[in-house]
């Protein structure tokens, strides 16, 4: 308890000027007999990139849809800029959404799509055109204004959806797995672009994804969802290096669970060196190299150990062949305990 408090105080002192823009209290929503969201509490700071990370059915999308106003909570409140908006319709909330399927209006060209929010808000035509053009430029689609959505590629549609939401200068931008439909290469490029865009415009981004790597890459903070609740909230580093629950340690990154001296310890594969002789730290386990799986940037070494458990390492030292007798070694301070 005191540790949590200290962490909170540390956090506040680091980002002191940030104010809370979205404040969620005891939020719950049930679909039929399923508790999709079960008493969520969350404060989101102005200007931050916050990711709601979790497997499908963990409640992250439902939370996002309740912030947008597409779903009403059964109980609890959502405050936006200090005002309770939980019972307001979507068009009375100062948030905009980038949808998973983009939801571009098929009968309108790109310009009309982007200008839609300004049009229904009654913004004068000259200003509307100027702002729409600027938004097009911001997402690097200048010259595409008169195309229909059907004439654009997936990546281009994505950018139009982004421009359509951002042009209204909402206080919060909600992104519902917006990169899910893109191929890997484009997705990685868009991750960088999104992050840059967020810094540039300074708008709070609330980003929903089930991809832990995406979450670690882009976020200022991550809220890890499981079974309708937040299991851990923290910076990517905190979540990765110090997971607070078995679920988080499994879902974010890979974890070796090893029983040693009668207790369970957890250690990430990259902290274990696999070699012919002990090389690193104070923990040493002998074993036989069972398999080496090439996964691009790294190779995963699967070792059958003397403990009777298999351990994965991604840090080889020297030439190793399958079937070799090997030694695994690591520093015990890299281990983490899970409550």
């Amino acid at each position: 308890m005191s540790q949590t408090l200290r962490k909170t105080l540390e956090f506040i002192s680091v980002v002191e000027p940030a104010s809370v823009i979205v404040s969620i209290r005891n939020l719950s929503r049930t679909f039929g007999s399923v508790k999709a969201v079960d008493g969520v509490n969350l404060d989101i700071y102005s200007g931050e990139f916050l990711t709601l990370l979790g497997p499908s059915g963990s409640g992250k999308t439902t939370v996002l849809r309740m912030i947008a106003g597409f779903e009403k909570p059964d109980s609890g409140t959502i405050e936006l800029g200090g005002r309770d908006v939980s019972q307001l319709p979507p068009y009375e909330r100062d948030v905009n959404t980038v949808f998973q399927d983009y939801a571009l209006f098929p009968h309108m060209d790109v310009i009309s799509n982007i200008g839609y929010g300004l049009r229904v808000a009654g913004v004068a035509k000259e200003e509307r055109i100027a702002r729409t053009e600027k938004a097009l430029e911001q997402v690097r689609l200048t010259g595409y204004g008169d195309r229909k959505p059907a004439e654009l590629s997936g990546g281009q549609r994505q950018r139009v959806a982004l421009a359509r939401a951002l042009v209204n200068r909402p206080s919060v931008l909600l992104l519902d797995e917006p990169l899910g439909a893109l191929d890997l290469k484009l997705r990685e490029q868009m991750q960088i672009e999104l992050k840059e865009l967020q810094r540039e415009v300074g708008i709070t981004f609330i980003f929903v994804t089930h991809d832990q790597e995406e979450a670690l890459t882009m976020s200022d903070r991550i809220a890890v969802f499981n079974l309708g609740n937040i299991e851990q909230l923290g910076t990517p580093r905190e979540v990765y290096e110090n997971p607070q629950s078995p679920f988080v340690s499994e879902f974010v990154g890979q974890t070796n669970k090893i029983t040693m001296d009668g207790r369970q310890i957890n250690i990430r594969p990259e902290f274990i060196t696999v070699s012919k002789s002990a090389e690193r730290g104070d923990r040493i386990v002998k074993g036989k190299l069972h398999d080496a799986i090439f996964v691009g940037a790294t190779t995963r070494y699967l070792v059958d150990t003397e403990l009777g458990e298999s351990i994965i390492s991604t840090d080889p030292s020297g030439l190793l062949d399958v079937g070799d007798d090997v030694v695994l070694s690591w520093e015990s301070e890299k281990e983490f305990l899970v409550k």
Binding site: A68, V95, L104, H107, G117, A150, N168
Partner: protein, 268 residues
């Protein structure tokens, strides 16, 4: 599926025979409307438009055409209003008895026209005490025109999903603006296709019309039926039949084209 050449030719000639059965008699009707022989001697000796002029000049035909047109337009209007509303209710909301209502709307197309006709006629004349006339014809036609608009609208609404409406509301548009700027434009071609189909069905309907039209009203199909066995009217009957074919086939053709266009280009 691959089929042998022999089977392919057999199937194609069977299809040819089937189509010929339907379309040769129809073509004969249209050709004969230009046949100068009063007894339709075949092959036609010479081309004439005199039957067409006579038909156009015939007050009975003109009146009947007017009634058919009015009934068709009114039945289509009712179908648009009720069919679209029903489609919205069924696609957007969950309520008790939804499946039953859906079935009840579709059911009348499978009922024989005679049954619908007698039932309506009984209801109008005996239970409700309404004298039959244009209004009862329109109600009779609406029983089957609602379905086609309903089906078209429902299919489109289901395909559209809810995310376009959500996006519109998210961008600040209320329900009415969203309907005007987003829902209706995306629904329009489906509604138009449904309306054309409804009009086509209503325009040439005879069975239900027979039971629901009062003594004073003749629609085109009823006029044909009444004049079918008068030899001196035969050439004009031909012209009216040809008109019926064209007026009811054209909307259905257009409607099909429209539905195809919107499936390929409407959504991505």
């Amino acid at each position: 599926m691959t089929i042998s050449n022999k089977a392919r030719y057999a199937l194609m000639s069977l299809m040819g025979v089937g189509l010929a059965f339907i379309y040769i008699p129809l073509s004969v009707v249209i050709i004969n409307s230009f046949n100068s022989s009063r007894t339709f001697s075949w092959p036609p000796q010479s081309f004439t438009t005199q039957w067409w002029s006579k038909a156009i000049g015939n007050t009975g035909v003109r009146k009947a055409f007017g009634w058919s047109l009015t009934a068709g337009l009114l039945a289509t209007a009712i179908a648009l209003l009720l069919g679209t509303s029903l489609a919205f209710a069924v696609s957007r909301y969950d309520f008790f008895g939804k499946e039953v209502i859906s079935l009840l709307v579709i059911l009348p197309i499978s009922l024989p026209g005679v049954v619908t006709g007698i039932a309506l006629s009984n209801a109008f004349n005996q239970q409700l005490g309404i004298s039959t006339g244009l209004m009862t014809i329109v109600i009779g036609h609406a029983t089957f025109t609602i379905v086609v608009v309903y089906n078209n609208a429902l299919a489109r609404l289901k395909r559209m999903g809810t995310s376009l409406q959500e996006a519109s509301m998210d961008l600040g548009a209320n329900g009415i603006t969203t309907f005007r700027l987003i829902t209706l434009p995306n629904l329009a071609s489906a509604l138009f296709a449904g309306a054309l189909l409804a009009f086509g069905l209503s325009f040439d309907e005879i069975v239900v019309t027979t039971f629901t039209a009062g003594p004073g009203i003749q629609t085109l199909p009823i006029w044909i039926y009444n004049n079918l066995f008068r030899p001196n009217q035969a050439p004009i009957v031909n012209v009216v039949a040809a008109t019926l074919v064209i007026v009811s086939v054209l909307p259905i053709y257009l409607s099909q084209r429209l539905s195809q266009d919107s499936t390929s280009g409407g959504r991505f």
